[in-house]
């Protein structure tokens, strides 16, 4: 059963492996994520349409610099994941693992920035259900409610993505992900890119458009 390990191509090495189906499964899961965040983007648009002034003023509270920095961090991390897949396909285990460690480091950096960013908001009395927000009114409450829910859920996805990638590192070291068997690595990469994809839209909507 396992004698075709040296198989160079992407075709199933034995009867129980179907990489195409595996990837379709990952994409189907990604679609549920796109529609989950998509639904929240629609909610954001509608509330912005109904409360243009409040959203405009509340948006200026957010720190453009941190937003831009985190965007750059995520874009670079997306590249390192894509490169680690290239490395494993070329049979370079060492590069693949190093690039995944780099991705994890970037993910942690992103979360640290997020921690300080939220910390400042909390200090200013801006957190869901706060007295200060209540005084500011409906529009601001909606803006910050959406801000915390959407960036919070996104940060949760960063954590899940990092666990997924750490798991791939272990699998590469054990030889369960390798040059002729990397579908799991590709799927973990897809998940990480999804996290980047969502941020690409969160960033202008919350940090840039005033």
């Amino acid at each position: 059963m396992m004698e075709s390990v040296e198989h160079q191509s992407h075709t199933p090495a034995h009867a129980h492996r179907d990489d195409t189906a595996s990837k379709i499964g990952m994409w189907l899961f990604i679609f549920t994520e796109i529609l989950l965040f998509g639904g929240m983007f629609i909610v954001y648009s509608v509330y912005r349409f109904n409360n243009p002034t409040a959203f405009h003023i509340a948006g200026e509270e957010l720190d453009d610099f941190v937003g831009t920095l985190n965007t750059i961090i995520l874009l670079i991390s997306s590249m390192t994941v894509a490169m680690s897949i290239t490395a494993i396909q070329r049979g370079n285990k060492k590069h693949a693992v190093l690039l995944l460690y780099a991705t994890l480091a970037l993910g942690i950096w992103f979360l640290v920035n997020k921690y300080f960013e939220w910390g400042v908001k909390f200090e200013h009395g801006l957190y869901p259900g706060s007295e200060f927000l209540h005084q500011l009114g409906h529009g601001d409450t909606m803006f910050f409610g959406l801000y915390f829910i959407m960036t919070g859920l996104h940060a949760l996805h960063i954590i899940v993505g990092m666990i997924f990638l750490a798991w791939i590192i272990v699998y590469i070291k054990k030889g369960r992900v390798r040059q002729d068997k990397f579908i799991m690595h590709e799927n973990a990469g897809l998940y990480w890119h999804l996290v980047d994809l969502i941020w690409i839209f969160l960033f202008p909507l919350f940090y840039l458009i005033h």
């Binding site: 191509s9 992407h10 075709t11 990489d19 195409t20 990837k23 379709i24 994409w27 189907l28 679609f31 796109i34 529609l35 998509g38 983007f41 629609i42 648009s45 509608v46 349409f49 109904n50 453009d64 831009t68 965007t71 750059i72 874009l75 670079i76 997306s78 590249m79 994941v81 894509a82 490169m83 897949i85 290239t86 396909q89 070329r90 590709e186 990469g189 897809l190 890119h193 980047d196 994809l197 690409i200 839209f201 960033f203 202008p204 909507l205 840039l208 458009i209 005033h210």
Partner: protein, 95 residues
């Protein structure tokens, strides 16, 4: 057929995609700093769409993978935009 030869993206091509993404990011930040009014929202969304397309095609490998994945992603995006459009028709004509 397309499964026999798996396309491997080169490191250099991935670096170029990153450069393109970073340039687009700087461009969005710049364009929203200059106050263009309502156009800046549209511009920011168009640029975000361009960045998302680059990530989907190159990093997520849709350009090189089998057509089935591209077809599925397109179908989901069409569904999303249909829902967005219908919601906006509803809110726009409600007042």
């Amino acid at each position: 057929m397309s499964e026999d030869k798996h396309h491997i993206s080169s490191y250099s091509s991935q670096i170029w995609i990153l450069v393109a993404l970073l340039i687009l990011t700087i461009f969005t930040v710049a364009i929203t700093k200059v106050n263009l009014g309502p156009i800046s929202v549209t511009m920011a969304m168009i640029i975000a769409g361009m960045k998302a397309t680059l990530v989907l095609l190159y990093f997520m490998h849709l350009k090189f993978d089998q057509k089935i994945y591209r077809f599925m992603v397109t179908a989901v995006l069409v569904l999303f935009f249909a829902v967005l459009l219908l919601t906006f028709f509803d809110y726009y004509f409600r007042h």
